[in-house]
Amino acid sequence: MDRKSGRRLQRLRILSQFLFLVLFFFLLARLAGGAAAPPAWAGLFFYLDPLFLWVGLLASPLLRPFLLALLPLLLTLLLGRFFCGWACPLGALHQFFTWLGARRRRRLPAVARAWLRPKYLLLAGLLAASLFTVQLLGWLDPFSLLTRSAATVVLPGGNALLQQALQAGPRPLYELGRRALLTVSQRSFLQAAGIGILFFALLLLNLRRRRFFCNSLCPLGALYGLLAKFSFLRLRINDACVKCNACAGGCTYQGGPYQDYLKSECLLCGNCLADCPAAAIDVAFAWPGRRQRPAVDLGRRRLLGAAGVGLAAAALPLASPSRQAVPHPFLRPPGALEEKEFLRRCIRCGACMQACPTNALQPALFQAGAEGLWTPVLVPQSGYCEYECHRCTQVCPTRAIARLSLGEKKQFKIGTAVIDRSLCYTYADGYNCAVCEEHCPVPEKAIRLREVEVETFRGRRRLVKQVYVVPDLCIGCGICESVCPRSDRPAIRVGAEEEQRQNPAG
């Protein structure tokens, strides 16, 4: 292919990456905001992900939307890792940062094959662990990683920065910006630091090594790489080659078709076609032959080792107290399945957190065990479960949070509120308060008042309307805890007592 066509292809690829990135953020925005429930296609990228097809196959009943992921799988058998090069939105970001870095470092060392290996081992380990119900694919899956990072770090952080910047400017500009760009209330997430450090570190690593995440860590890239080995599309050097090795200069895995062609690593980015001065690289379809150069050397022993580590790692959480799980100090979103099945399905993508209008859903740290890292927990001191909303139940791609109609969600018991009489003003201080009672959304009121004569701390007797909870009516939405006016610690708190967790039938 001549250079001009190569450049055209390259530009087409960049355009495609850009459009998929825009599509990704468009769908992310559809998860949040608006009164209507988000459309099912807002989860498109997840349904196209073969790793989650695996999760969907392990779930019972199996999750049919993920059959969509057969499409990129088949296309990969035909074309190779086109998805990584042309469609993956996280890949697009990595490509952009690689481009930034490449402008500064003109000469990069040739590929070290050892750097291409970890992703395959990670994939082996993660898949092995998932067989034993410890499903951690979402930690590194590109869509989970990007959705989670964008929802909990990039968007809220960007909003906060923009707000600060606008406030420094003239007021009319601030008003305009606030209307057009800012969210009405600033969102914040408890684990933003950890999620953000991982995300930005991965992006910055591109400055040292091209598409570091895609080449070295991405489990989805590994899966596509395994298939790409057997794909039909390939690059071939023809007789015009002048052996200048210019094709390695822009290669995303630092190999290039002349020096070190690895079909499993080639992202079809087209850089080599655009860089070749001699039109010496052809794009051809060929029956995947036996006489190929060796691909990344995984080694049976290493692969089995990785799977073994995955299994061993799975054993740790299986034996941890969080799996025994009787009393536990966290709330799950409404509709969450039984903990074991919930963890098996949850892909830590944070779609529910993006969808939650009140910022109540937060990524867990270790309260649900180490394996529960970044799974959603409902934190009433951050927000409450809005009575008129069931959005999180509509967006969970793997239905770790079951689809609930609004009517079903209103009845769903997330937990139960308990009054701490040593803190509540109406008991401890003998004052009227009742903010929690006011906010209780249950029409029959799960928080009620009764007039009682008490002795105040000043020793006076007076009538006080004391609040109490009707446990059978309480749905555990947490608005009471979120509005309790105490400054030290809410005097009414929701715990998982009587939480309603059940798996789908069949």
Partner: protein
């Protein structure tokens, strides 16, 4: 006198004479303490009628004023559930304020539920925009400390938008309230406050009275079209809502609340905030002594 001025003055006088018979003749109708209560077939019409009977919006809004209209948009509830002010009442008030020459009308509240949800579901944002108001969300970065100089309530953060307005029109909804019994115009002023408002639920009646005494409502229009009679202030169940098809207007916030309490079927003397207001000499607590006119539209 110039001819043009003569003609202008003359036509103004003529208009005044023509309109004179329309102005209610009863004593006190134009006084600051008067209350008009109108019952009728449309929330929009009875709102207009009540303000007109009180002397017209021009009595309260001057040409060029920046007017703040403060409905109760506190909850993510529909108009049928009666937890927020009826959007048609808000629309009528905004239209009248603009017609009276207001430079700008702003509609705003500091909600209890998430603001966007409340503004949207209540129908108030759409109605206010339709009427020509600017619909604004409360912005934490726009808080300023205001001194209410009350008996229990002193300095407290208030959204500047309310302090900057030339005129403040208080447009609450009448409804049941668990801890304070009823919520009406005086309680509606919680919506101008920022900070940890929940703390003000201690001695709530006293705080409400201080709030109303320390921040002037130039006009009060109480929506009692649908009244949430139980399980307020958030409600939710339609069986707890009764249609009363009424609007109450007054320039005296306490009198508006006394009349609203009476409409609810509650003696003002049993409402803590009104006892406190009475102690502060904000008006009559005895409904019989309130200059109230009840009309059917």
């Amino acid at each position: 006198m110039k001819r043009r001025a003569f003609i202008q003055n003359g036509s103004a006088l003529a208009t005044g004479l023509m309109l004179a018979p329309l102005v209610p003749a009863q004593a006190g109708a134009g006084s600051a303490d008067a209350v008009v209560q109108v019952r009728g077939a449309s929330p929009y019409e009875i709102t207009r009628r009540a303000v007109t009977e009180l002397g017209g919006m021009k009595r309260f809004v001057s040409r060029g004023d920046l007017v703040m209209v403060k409905p109760n948009i506190g909850w993510n509830r529909t108009v049928e559930q009666g937890a927020c002010t009826h959007p048609e009442v808000v629309r009528a008030v905004v239209e009248m304020a603009l017609a009276a020459g207001a430079r700008k009308v702003v509609v705003m509240d500091n909600t209890c539920h998430k603001a966007e949800d409340c503004y949207q579901r209540s129908g108030i944002a759409a109605a206010a925009r339709q009427a020509g108001a600017e619909v604004r969300f409360s912005d934490e970065s726009r808080l300023a400390v205001h001194d209410f100089r009350g008996e229990v309530l002193g300095r407290w953060p208030v959204f500047r938008d309310h302090l900057e307005a030339d005129k403040f029109i208080n447009v609450p909804v009448l409804k049941h309230h668990g801890s304070s019994g009823l919520t009406m115009a005086m309680k509606n002023l919680y919506g101008i406050l920022g900070g940890n408002r929940g703390k003000l639920h201690r001695d709530m009646g006293e705080n409400i009275a201080d709030l109303a005494a320390g921040f002037r409502s130039h006009l009060v229009v109480v929506d009692a079209w649908r009244v949430l009679v139980r399980n307020g202030p958030v409600g939710g169940r339609l069986s707890d809502v009764e249609e009363r098809r009424t609007v109450i207007a007054s320039a005296n916030i306490m009198h508006a609340d006394v009349a609203a309490a009476a409409l609810f079927g509650r003696d003002a003397r049993q409402v803590e905030s009104l006892q406190a207001a009475s102690a502060r000499r904000m008006g009559e607590i005895d409904i019989a002594k309130v200059p109230l006119r009840r009309l059917d539209a």
